[in-house]
Amino acid sequence: MSLNRRDFVKLCTGTVAGFGISQMFHPAVCEAISGSLNGERPPVLWLQGQGCTGCSVSLLNSVHPTIADVLLKVISLEFHPTVMAWEGEPAMEHMMKIAEQYKGKYFVVVEGAVPTEADGKYCIIGEAHHKEISMADAMKSVAANAAAVLAVGTCAAYGGIPAAQGSETGAKSVSAFFKENGIATPVVNIPGCPPHPDWIVGTVVVALNAIKAKGLAAGLADVVKLLDADGRPTPFYGRNVHENCPYLEAYDAGKMCETFTKKDGCRYDLGCKGPMSMCDSFERKWNGGVNWCVSNAVCIGCVEPDFPDGKSPFYSA
């Protein structure tokens, strides 16, 4: 079995109103998510490039469904360097075996950017058949042959910090790397530094649901229709932080916070990048809803394609 109806509705609550796709999240449809591409849980291969593992750690914080449910009921995580039991060449060769066996029918998650300088030497992900495999190599083979690639985190989606001013490694986003290498595999960006776990799990579940309902090609096409111009699913990234912020009224009234701890106003004068950021953190909040970025400090625009350089400096004097 897969996600129960209650968990899934909790996941989606508040994000679909007004989008006209509530039918997609109808509880009866949701219950069918256990079926997949092959009658089993779809194989997922998780590649880590120039990342920090923060996206994986954020995913572990998933509340509804729990990460245990995600791992044991929703997907079959056949390769993930941070949690998998095996190691070394045999684990790498297992990944390649799965990629071969399920060609065009598995998913790849990419966490971290792809370095392209120095013949890809700035990120070696392992050895297989006594050969060093760079992240760039893996992108051209394992990632290219997937049904779709989820570029999780701002590094994978847009290059992020490894690709920022001063970088010497030729760090590229998944999309940029695929474009440069003529790879047409569909990419879904789930940015955030890190992304909220709901954005990751929600996108996976929406995709699997669509594929179950309409088959692989039509299902993925439906998912692609949900993406904005920056490749992000609009259910999670379609609304502007500032325009939906609880402090918008204060902004309109010209009432600004003077310091971080004097919180009786809008944080714009502290450097908040809410006006140029698109995500639903204002509603979803973080870490089980205990807090969120703007309430606590300021938004630094971590879901945006120009993070960090276009959002720097993060704080105003």
């Binding site: 923060g54 530094c193 919180k263």
Partner: protein, 488 residues
């Protein structure tokens, strides 16, 4: 087909073979271990950090205050450590005094992530070395001969705890986010203090979660570390390495920062020494960096990658303290601090190991610095952190200021020393024209997982691998067990 295929065919049953494990899984980041096994024992080891981003160069030219946000992205498991070290360096450079309540909220935020990081490490990174998981990805596939020895009922309980621990570490992150804003990558720590004055309600929420986590640590994590240890007693007999260690100290218990919960100190060749930061140098002969940048103190550090340099084998620089390779992390801190062991730990050491130990050093250095000793140290450190968090919750004041503003200096430098869960961490900043002119980081991974230095001295983990039993090179389980005990 299973196991690791050796690079060179062994010359007979007792011959020499070099095997590579790439990737070493269940760590943070990219690591390759190449070991030479002779007569069933590791005789040589090379540890290779296979990924480079260039934070130090990316930070140059930026607004100094951006540093404490950007450096968190060095590591998604311990971003609070980098945030803390960076903020301390900035406090130093900006010459700003953090209010008492700011120090306490920083401690509560950083402390909660210590609990998360250690729980995550034991259960979700290391445990599969000792526990057989369900027959479902990612718990399979595994080595054909994984050397898993827990009796069925204990194994089942351990699997239950693995799943429960996923929930517990999630709750720890809720504690971090209470004043940190969100986690991973907190918003709430800045130069001058923290951004959110705690309310009574928020403190109650933090404390309620702490109660849950505390119960798990005391009733499950600490006892299970010893119980698992008892099933793998031979893992107390190898992996010691140099038995030299360093701790920069962490968690200031007073505003003057003279009293640290995790103490500062150095222990080399059997002797305690006071910590002198001037004695730290980074070497790069065997690292993929320009040779001209070797032997520098971090205040003069240079970051010039040379990915094709012949003879080098890692992107990790080799820090040395007074020329010595020293390990850092929970065992270093527990050895330097030498606190009283947890009551359950003292009892289990007596019952399961016939050992009368009251303080950490009573374990003896052979046991303490062994593979299993490092796991025990991490569990005991988690226990030792509980009383600190309890104290901070009593001392922190709802409604009291946590932040002091300060102007960006035109020209200044600052340094911040702390301890990430996995080891010693220093951030150094040099500011010119109000911008970052130089930023250098010496992190835990650098202290432990470094390659040889210019004199050919092995890094601490490399040294710890020497003597590791590998009776079956197709199932070289002990190699990664040694490495994972360091929590790379």
């Amino acid at each position: 087909m299973s196991g690791c295929t050796p690079k060179a065919a062994p010359a007979g049953a007792t011959g020499k073979a070099t095997i590579a494990i790439d990737p070493v899984s269940r760590i943070e980041g990219h690591l390759k271990a190449e070991v030479t096994v002779e007569n069933g024992v590791v005789v040589d080891a090379r540890l290779s950090g296979g990924m480079y981003r260039g934070f130090e160069t990316i930070l140059r030219g930026r607004d100094p205050r951006d540093a404490s946000q950007i450096v968190q992205r060095i590591c998604g498991v311990c971003p609070t450590a980098h945030s803390t070290a960076s903020c301390m360096a900035l406090d130093n450079a900006f010459k700003v005094k953090v209010p008492t309540n700011g120090r306490l909220t920083r401690n509560l935020t950083f402390g909660a992530n210590y609990l998360q990081s250690h729980i995550l490490h034991f259960y979700h990174l290391a445990a599969l070395d000792f526990v057989q998981g369900p027959d479902s990805a990612p718990f399979v596939p595994r080595f054909a001969k994984p050397d898993l020895r827990l009796p069925k009922d204990i194994n089942a309980a351990a699997v239950d705890q693995y799943l429960e621990a996923l929930e517990v570490r999630r709750i720890c992150h809720e504690m971090v986010a209470m004043f940190g804003g969100r986690m991973p990558h907190v918003q709430g720590q800045v130069v001058g203090g923290t951004t959110q004055i705690p309310t009574k309600e928020a403190l109650v929420e933090y404390a309620a979660r702490f109660t849950k986590v505390r119960e798990f640590v005391e009733k499950k994590y600490v006892p299970v570390a010893y119980t698992v240890g008892a099933a793998y007693k031979d893992l107390f007999s190898f992996g010691q390495g140099y038995k030299n260690c360093i701790s920069f100290g962490a968690f200031p218990m007073n505003d003057a920062m003279t009293e640290l919960h995790l103490k500062r100190g150095v222990y080399i060749d059997g002797k305690d020494q006071p910590f002198d930061p001037k004695l730290i140098k980074e070497y790069v002969k065997y690292s993929w960096f320009d040779d001209a940048t070797t032997g520098l103190h971090f205040s003069e550090g240079k970051t010039v990658p040379a990915p094709h340099k012949a003879g080098a084998y890692s992107f990790v620089k080799a820090p040395r303290y007074n020329g010595k390779a020293v390990e850092s992390g929970p065992v270093a801190r527990m050895w330097v601090t030498n606190p009283e062991l947890s009551p359950v730990g003292q009892k289990l050491l007596k019952d399961l190991f016939k050992l009368n130990a009251k303080r950490f050093r009573d374990l003896g250095d052979d046991k303490a610095f062994s593979v299993m000793g490092r796991h025990v140290a991490r569990a005991e450190e988690t226990y030792y952190m509980l009383s600190a968090i309890e104290r901070w919750l009593k001392e922190v004041k709802a409604g009291e200021e946590t932040f002091a503003s300060a102007e960006i200096p035109a020209k200044s430098e600052g340094v911040g020393f702390t301890e990430a869960p996995r080891g010693s961490l220093v951030h150094y900043i040099n500011i010119k024209d109000q911008k970052i002119d130089n930023y250098q980081i010496v992190s835990a991974t650098l202290w432990n997982c470094n390659p040889r230095d210019d004199s050919g001295q092995l890094g601490p983990v490399e040294r710890a691998l020497i003597g590791t039993p590998v009776p079956d090179i197709s199932n070289p389980v002990n190699v990664a067990r040694v490495i994972r005990a360091f929590d790379p």
